[in-house]
């Protein structure tokens, strides 16, 4: 506790910390309410394992596949870290959907929590974006052709479709620029947006309290 006191004397952190830790939680909050927390926990796991994977992964068509093979076959605990990243991504999608269904079931999206519902839907779309961009990174057959189809689908949007297609691929064909683009979106753009939305999501829960479903 001496570090805590040392910091508190200088920065007066006690009121802020106590406001967070002493925050009352209603007793009727049961295990159904844990899916949002699980989703967040899995997101943190994704960030940590993603950082480790980035130490070896090379986002270029010449090296991406080999670097993933290297991570999986040679790097110590590489297969384990990649496995956690892969499977917690799958669980993340399941958990975020269950969380959304729980919120719907309890009518928690209703006034005054509309904004928190909307940030939640945005976070859900971010997760989908992570899934879509992450799918290309191993640069295997499935990655390449699924992204070809996926970007083709985006290309069918009326009026702006061809532009979106070109923007996503960084040209007419899927290649080196596409891979770097997807990599950047996966590891920089989406995490930045997601963390911003998460902060807003949590802030609003604290501000408005947990929804009483009865």
């Amino acid at each position: 506790m001496s570090i805590y006191n040392w910091l508190d004397k200088r920065l007066d952190i006690r009121p802020g910390i106590e406001k967070v830790t002493k925050h009352p939680v209603p007793v009727w909050v049961n295990w159904l309410y844990c899916f949002g927390g699980i989703t967040f926990f899995l997101f943190v796991l994704q960030v940590i394992t993603g950082m480790f994977l980035m130490l070896y992964y090379v986002p270029s068509p010449d090296h991406a596949y080999d670097s993933v093979q290297y991570i999986t076959k040679t790097v110590r605990f590489g297969a384990f870290i990649r496995g956690i990243h892969h499977w917690s991504a799958t669980l993340l999608v399941v958990m975020v959907v269950i969380h959304m269904l729980r919120v719907f079931w309890h009518g928690a999206y209703k006034t005054p929590r509309e904004l928190n519902w909307i940030t939640g839907v945005c976070l859900f779309l971010m997760i989908m974006g992570f899934g879509f961009t992450g799918y290309l990174l191993p640069w295997d057959q499935k990655a390449y052709w699924a992204t070809t189809v996926g970007t083709n689908i985006a290309g069918t949007v009326p009026v702006v479709g061809p532009f979106i297609l070109k923007l996503m691929r960084g040209g007419t064909d899927l290649g080196a620029i596409t891979l770097v683009r997807f990599f950047q979106i996966h590891v920089a753009l989406l995490p930045a947006i997601t963390i911003t939305f998460l902060v807003a999501h949590f802030f609003m829960i604290r501000r408005q309290g947990i929804n009483r479903p009865f």
């Binding site: 209603p26 956690i84 999608v93 209703k110 779309l125 057959q141 990655a143 189809v149």
Partner: protein, 221 residues
């Protein structure tokens, strides 16, 4: 102590609630670590941009969307690829603004709960259907396929009348008889699928041509 606890209306976030969350988090961590240890991350060959015959499948959580696309082809394709996802997202985003009743108990919200259940069942059904469905004909042109059918003289042997034939089968309802994967692969090497088949291999047609021809076959229901 126990009595006191039961009469409390609230517990502090830390340590009481945090403790529960921590247990759940550790359990989830254990599950993920077990999966990472015992399940194989799918391993595929390196990307080959020239191999246009590869049939990709999206990640499982996109399958329902993928399957939904199957019901829109040709001029209506845009309905599935653009309108359907946009409507789906709008239904979600705008939910608090069109469902404005203050009632929160699920028993007293029959319309909202049954609508959501229907959508959920739809998504689950589509996901399972997608397990049996191909992407070959997704960006193929049945019209071009029909032209190939005529240009290549397929009609010299095959008929489209529904007649019972010997040798080359009648193709009037071929789309409801066969799967697109089968038709597509069969074009490449008929003998591999039908013993002693007299149908020639389609060497001079590109994979896209074969996809178009498959799309034409699939339109013959």
């Amino acid at each position: 102590m126990k009595l006191r606890k039961n009469t409390r209306k609230e517990i502090p976030f830390y340590p009481d609630h945090m403790f529960k969350e921590g247990i759940v988090a550790l359990f989830v961590l254990a599950v993920v670590m077990l999966m990472a240890t015992f399940l194989q991350v799918p391993n595929e060959p390196v990307a080959n941009p020239t191999d246009t015959s590869y049939i990709p499948r999206p990640e499982w959580y996109f399958l329902f969307l993928f399957q939904a696309l199957k019901y829109f082809s040709g001029p209506t394709e845009m309905l599935g690829t653009f309108l359907l996802p946009v409507v789906f997202i709008l239904i979600l985003v705008l939910l608090p603004f069109y469902d404005r009743k203050a009632e929160k108990k699920w028993r007293k919200r029959p319309i909202a709960i049954s609508a959501a259940t229907l959508i959920l069942i739809g998504i689950i059904v589509l996901t399972f259907q997608a397990g049996l469905v191909s992407t070959i004909t997704l960006f193929a042109s049945p019209a071009h396929g029909k032209q190939i059918y005529a240009d290549k003289g397929c009609d010299i042997c095959h008929t489209l009348t529904g007649a019972t034939t010997e040798g080359a089968p009648d193709l009037l309802h071929v789309g409801s008889r066969l799967e697109p994967e089968y038709i597509f692969n069969h074009f490449k090497d008929p003998e591999a699928y039908v013993k002693d088949s007299s149908m020639p291999k389609t060497r001079d047609l590109s994979d896209q041509d074969l996809k178009d021809l498959t799309a034409y076959m699939m339109s013959l229901k």
